[in-house]
């Protein structure tokens, strides 16, 4: 009955989709800006992620089957197939969970193991996950990784297991996992801020990948904080998640098309939290 009452009371609120700005009032909206002009594809971010997030090392056989676990992968594309040599080098793309605002992975999970947090993250609840893998099927970026085996049996032989980060779990077979924007670091920072009752300051912490990146290609911060570096970057490049009405914004809305900001596969309206800045190359004869 009380739940029925609740339904009636908040009806209008509960009917708000993202088009109406959504039901949710965000505390933070963690986001990234990745500068492909700076990224050199050195893979430091990926390894840092392994170290921070207890990612399993699967070994060659399982890697060959595609059972690898790198939440953050550095993709390498060759864009001049017709040329005899790749004369402008490679295109590197660090790809991790885009923490979409309208994430295709979320609504399809039959048990709500993946949901949207007040921080604007796509949280994956390992305990709740039953491994239907629908979320991965529906992820256009294919950045979710499934525990096909009980990796803990093989990946951390004594005493390698002593390195495991106690701030987060080691996942067992049958659950889906993915980049969390180092949610454990976010937690720590928020707790600390709470203890000192203040808001989380920009740059007081960052994700493992951003911290490792030798060229500072990866910027991490709170898109709700107008002062944060990320917010400014997004603004400078005229990329934003939502317009004044809180409706999703698109690249087409960019006033100055020369600016480098874009979001991968934006046309799918997934509203990613990661903005990429276009790669730059000289135009040489």
């Amino acid at each position: 009955m009380s739940s029925l009452q609740n339904l009636i009371d908040n009806w209008s609120q509960y009917r708000k989709g993202i088009e109406q700005g959504g039901f949710h009032h965000y505390e933070h909206r963690w986001g990234m800006a990745i500068d492909l002009n700076a990224c050199i594809g050195c893979n430091a971010c990926s390894t840092a992620c392994y170290a921070e997030n207890n990612l399993a090392v699967v070994g060659p056989e399982r890697f060959a089957q595609g059972h690898f676990m790198h939440w953050l992968r550095v993709e390498r594309y060759w864009d001049q197939p017709d040329k005899e040599f790749p004369e402008q080098g490679a295109s590197f793309l660090p790809m991790m969970c885009q923490q979409c605002g309208a994430a295709p992975c979320e609504p399809v999970c039959p048990v709500v193991a993946t949901y949207h947090t007040p921080d604007g993250l796509n949280a994956q609840v390992y305990n709740r996950c039953i491994g239907s893998r629908y979320c991965n099927n529906n992820c256009p970026y294919r950045v979710r990784y499934f525990n096909f085996w009980s990796y803990y049996e093989t990946s951390w032989p004594e005493p390698l297991n002593m390195q495991l980060n106690p701030d987060l779990t080691v996942r067992d077979k049958g659950v889906m996992e993915k980049c969390t924007f180092c949610v454990q670091r976010i937690r720590t920072a928020k707790d600390k801020a709470k203890m000192e009752n203040r808001k989380v300051k920009d740059g007081e912490f960052t994700t493992a990948c951003a911290q490792a990146c030798p060229t500072n290609a990866i910027h991490f911060g709170d898109l709700m904080d107008p002062e944060s570096q990320v917010t400014k970057l997004w603004a400078t490049h005229q990329v934003s998640r939502v317009d004044e009405q809180g409706r999703p914004r698109h690249e087409q809305d960019k006033k100055n098309p020369d600016l480098r900001g874009y979001r991968v596969l934006e046309e799918l309206n997934t509203d990613p939290s990661v903005m990429y800045l276009e790669r730059v190359r000289e135009t040489l004869a």
Partner: protein
Amino acid sequence: MKKSHRLLGLFSNFEEATKAIYDIRANKVSGVSVKDVTLISPIEHPEVEEALGDRGVHVQFFTLFGGLFGLIGSWVWISAAQATFLVQPQGGKPVVTLVTNFVLNYEMMILGGVLFTLIGLLVGARLPSRPGTLYSEKISLDQIGILLEVNEPNLAPLKSLFHQHNVVEIREEIIR
């Protein structure tokens, strides 16, 4: 007023059985009305049943109720559940997603309808029950039975009526 005897006539010829009922209907036997007749047949037998006159069926109301119950009930249930289980609006969708809920309501409507139809059937057909002592295997094979409850005096004329319509077998018992 309570009848004293129960009488079952078995016919293997359907036309004759029908005729017999029409005779009863025409009050050939005093004190025996067509309302007392129960027709027992191995197969669905609309043309014979015509003879019994119009006897109502009420299953459809059960069905209607069941359907509505499923539809509305599930709608309330699911929406309320969504409203109380506040994981954030996933994929930018509202908390209460009417469109998708309707799919479920549709299914629940059918389920409700079907289940209540079943109940309707059981109630309407008075099932489960016992076939009764007069019941004969022949009926489930290929004979039609006409079952009546009559008083002592009407017994003999009724039997003779059955015999006119070359009844195959007559079974009777005394109700106490």
